[in-house]
Symmetry: C2
Subunit: 122 residues, 2 copies
């Protein structure tokens, strides 16, 4: 299979599934309750739930015939960690770029013919 981070992103790439997650932040729900607002079959919602479960976003526990769905919010951290890491790097790069631009105002009208200077990023 693919890695969990991919599964989490993929799971949240669907508006219906995001809406389900949103509703589950308020309270646990059964499959039938979750399916009610959408005009798709209960089976389709059950499949969506399986996607969320495989991503580790929800768990299901048995309770009589019902299978209450519970949100596992810790997985959110997996995403925020990834996002924040690269957001930070991108921002650092902008500040570095600012420094470069400031320095460029000095030797402006100089050699421009040394093409392909992307170098080897450390």
């Amino acid at each position: 299979m693919t890695d969990q981070l991919s599964r989490v992103f993929a799971a949240l790439a669907d508006p219906t599934r995001r809406d389900m997650v949103a509703r589950l932040t308020e309270a646990d729900h059964t499959v039938n309750e979750l399916a009610a607002p959408y005009d798709v079959s209960v089976q389709a919602v059950s499949k969506h739930l399986k996607v969320l479960e495989d991503a580790g976003l929800v768990t299901r526990t048995r309770e009589a015939q019902r299978r209450p769905v519970h949100l596992e919010a810790e997985v959110f951290d997996l995403m925020t960690r990834w996002i924040e890491r690269y957001r930070r790097r991108a921002e650092e790069r902008f500040t570095r770029l600012d420094a470069v631009l400031a320095r460029m105002q000095d030797d402006d009208t100089t050699h421009r013919s040394t093409a392909s200077q992307e170098g080897t990023a450390s």
Copy 2:
């Protein structure tokens, strides 16, 4: 088409695309440079870039024959806003749950037969 948030999540649900984004936080790159490390065709990478572009994660500007790819990190905020909103709600719910559990220690051995008490969440 689908909404942007869905497109962003879907775009990042692929390890290759995430890796490209990661590399683009360091510096802009051409399609060929981006394609080099992966053992897929350049065309495949070009398609991946189209996905990232449609999600608003990157832009391409022309520069001679080259089309340098530039990361647009602002879109990350779209995700973090969504994630943080519901993470917060989930956490609030846990604290509420703690309060309920504390109160339940009082009237513990009481009526248990009033099923389906999920009520109407305000």
